[in-house]
Symmetry: D2
Subunit: 306 residues, 4 copies
């Protein structure tokens, strides 16, 4: 597997499926590195392209700077060399993002995933975002992947900004979790000469994203149904669209349940059911209520996964 | 072509591409039936499945009740028998919708398209919408198609409401203009035993909709690039996904330009450019500014359509 | 009481409190004019400035054109000459609004209240809205009041549009139901030389609106607690702010309950409790559930009104 | 001036006006403590109740943890003992917020201002927020003030959560920057037995907030027109409502210009015009464009402030 660009104009190939891994905590809400490694060991049987450390599902917003870097280091050590480690290095300021990206690269990340800053969202227009990402990509020792997650940020990376940024030699792609398939198709179309790679940010629209030219997915659901998400990838890549459709449809409700509907607490609860270490989130994220847990289970059983 | 259900449990087949036709007006803002018929004549060479009269692009919200029915009558008279005429009969009250649906059926509509009522959107929950559509479908002499267009209504028909309504023998399908492909896939999945047919409400996500099981599209862009939208349908239906993707991508910007971005005035302006009668909208919809017209043209030229 | 302008530059004075009256229906959902008149008789003891017929609470969106005019006629006949009758004449098209305004004026309306058209909200910018209201005000035989109700329309009349329109000799004021007090204050400030009168569109922020210069209110809650809303007016007008504050605060939850929270069905349910004719709404508006009814009652009892 | 509670059930009195001070940076984007102190010196002539360090206008989201504490320390050293120093200590996790609050208290903060965590806003319901604030308030050595700023967080602290939290002995009040005056009045009403103090989070609705019972304001505009904002406070407190109204109205556009409309870059640009140190923001916040600067100036000149 080629991981880094080997010549001018050639970019790191990031095709494939990645789980944005969860961060297990101890009773005292400290990072439980042991459980983290056990999860990674269990994932080793699944044909993932690599792992995303500190996507939104990793509760990165709740980790200290030191923890963020340390988790990346531990993951890099725990997984085989041929697996890509993509690290979420986004911070609100450009300065902090530059520094975090560098530290994560030093800790072994093969690429960094940089979420749109969003606290001052009223001013995060194309100009500001292009400025931000350019500073980060200029300074970063490893390739940069843009990260658009409007459900959390309340902000959609403008198409024109994505297109402009696709021309930067150190920006290799985009993770889009918004799920607006028209927008995803348009970005792919307008960057088609740039070798710019788009990854679906959710298993809910993975097939549709492949149908318009995406090359992979970073899918929370892959933490639980990793084998199945990889199978969906294979069906799409090999053009078996009818089978893909049948599988895709059975993944939508489970996926929604562990993301938009009930959030990370549901992701972790389900990981426990499937033999991984999930456990509690850091506060203020609360455990599910009993009624939510029941609905969560039903979203898996009614689709035949439990 | 079979248009009506011929036995118990069998529903009208609505597969295919439909332009939601525009309504031409005279200088005095009266409906120009002559120009309307000329447009329909020009459309006769295109392999449309039929015509949607008074989708949102038909400015139905600006027509009187009498005009709404009369336009349906004229269209039915002008187009060949084997073309379906689907008439937008939605009103805010159930009572008015029942009546309008009946009048449009008498005027020759093969089916009616019923938009979600929305003025009191805070109370338009599943209960209210199921109640509304059930009354309409019970009374309507022709099949009913649900119509979800959140961009105009500020309301998303809940998935559970669509699933419940799919079981009504006189509700045959859904036009979804929201473009949330995960939601569209889920509705198709959850109604798969109901012979419930989903139509994409826009050319922007037509390929993606086909990829998850939609059976056609009601696409504003088909008023202008009808041949091309039908070609995209054929590529999807025959499984030529790579060619479909290339064509789909070239349609996104033109489609956005005549819908979300610049609205019906842009649709009509472009119709003029392509040899149809577009003309002005009814007030308060204004003609495009010069700068908007320039951008509109550019969205067509940069994709090779002008 | 002076109702109409008596000289150049002098506008109709619309100060005071108005209930936006509800429309009672029979079991068959026909307008019950008898009950309507009985309600008006009961209101005659309350020092209202007048009545608003077909604000959003009047279910105007569910009435036919004929019913809309007829309700105005009946109200005008039923109430004393010295009470203003303000009729909601807004339609989506300018043409229909011009016509409806004229018919309502003929039926006896002293002024018309014109909601922002909203179905094509993406294009309802200042240009379109100024165009719309200017046409209506030019043609209308009675004064025009602008009506901003973003909760229903999904649209906020831009401040600059309100300021421009305030200069039209036949536009006398604005009903603002949005409740953004900063915006209300700014509009009052920027129209201070125009004799432009702003009415609060809800009892929830009536005191605050007076504090920044509003001159009255059109308040759903006045259908039920009319005496109290008029008392609040008096306290504000006479500068008894502490007493006003105490009364205002007790009105917020009841007001929210019969508007935003539970809608018109709650307004009508509460009217029944208070000795007026409320009854059912037209479909698709549903009666309250049992649990909603309980909460509604509690919002009145906990504030000492039931 | 009494600052701390002196007995059981008595809370810190936080009445008055506070500027949420800006953070000046050097050319290299480091905190410029010297300029910060010069600003504070200039503010010493204005009858502020105190200073808010690291409200949203302080770019706290762009500061490191160390910088956040250090800025508090410097401000405490620079301002007279009788001025309250309120420090924004909110972080996304409860754990980090507890720690930051403690450090800021050690650095001399008289109270802390804790913004609603928001990155996982879909799960930040009353349960989560009550849990969060309770942990923070239990542990915090100084009083806690809730901070609701939906414009940045995309989240509104639920009224019921505010009411529950008002009963905590170490939670003394709320800064509400949302500007929904009905909501503000309701919170004041429902906490009236708790000695719970509400501060307006903006000069745009300061008068209206006083009219319903607020006791002060934390107003970005006070960084520039501090004397005037304090004067408005005096007019409200002394019941001179007509004069208050006239002054209030002239502050709305300048206030909007340096907050919602153009953001912190505008605040700092205007500070430069008024003799304070403003300067650039940290990236990715960009300087104003020329056209924005022109509009900004006009929003001050047209109201007579420049």
């Amino acid at each position: 597997v080629k991981r880094h660009s080997s010549g001018p104009g050639q970019r790191m190939d990031i095709r494939g499926i990645y789980p944005p891994i969860a961060t297990p905590f101890t009773q005292k809400e400290l990072v439980d590195y042991h459980k983290l490694e056990e999860n990674l060991n269990k994932y080793s049987k699944i044909p993932f392209r690599g792992f995303v450390v500190q996507g939104s599902n990793g509760e990165y917003a709740y980790l200290t700077s030191e923890e963020r870097v340390e988790v990346v280091r531990r993951v890099r050590q725990a997984v085989p060399k041929d697996k890509l480690v993509i690290a979420g290095s986004g911070c609100e300021s450009s300065m902090a993002t530059v520094q975090m990206s560098d530290q994560m690269a030093q800790a072994g990340a093969d690429a960094v995933l940089v979420v749109t800053p969003c606290f001052y969202r009223g001013r995060m227009d194309s100009r500001a975002l292009i400025h931000h990402y350019t500073q980060v990509a200029d300074a970063c020792p490893v390739p940069v992947i843009l990260y658009n997650v409007p459900g959390n940020t309340g902000l959609d990376l403008p198409v024109e900004a994505a297109v402009t940024l696709s021309q930067h030699p150190n920006i290799v792609g985009l993770k889009d979790s918004g799920g607006d398939i028209t927008r995803i198709a348009l970005i792919i179309h307008k960057t088609q000469n740039q070798d710019f790679q788009v990854l679906a940010g959710s298993a809910g629209f993975l097939l549709a994203a492949y149908s318009v030219g995406a090359v992979g997915g970073i899918c929370a659901l892959a933490n639980i149904l990793g084998q199945q998400v990889c199978q969906l990838e294979q069906l799409c890549v090999s053009g078996q669209w009818e089978k893909a459709k049948a599988l895709q449809c059975r993944l939508i409700e489970p996926n929604a349940a562990v993301t938009r509907k009930f959030g990370i607490a549901a992701l972790k609860q389900t990981m426990d059911w499937f033999g991984y270490h999930g456990g509690n989130c850091r506060s203020p994220l609360c455990p599910l209520t009993e009624s939510e847990t029941k609905q969560l289970r039903s979203d898996f059983t009614s689709n035949g996964w439990l």
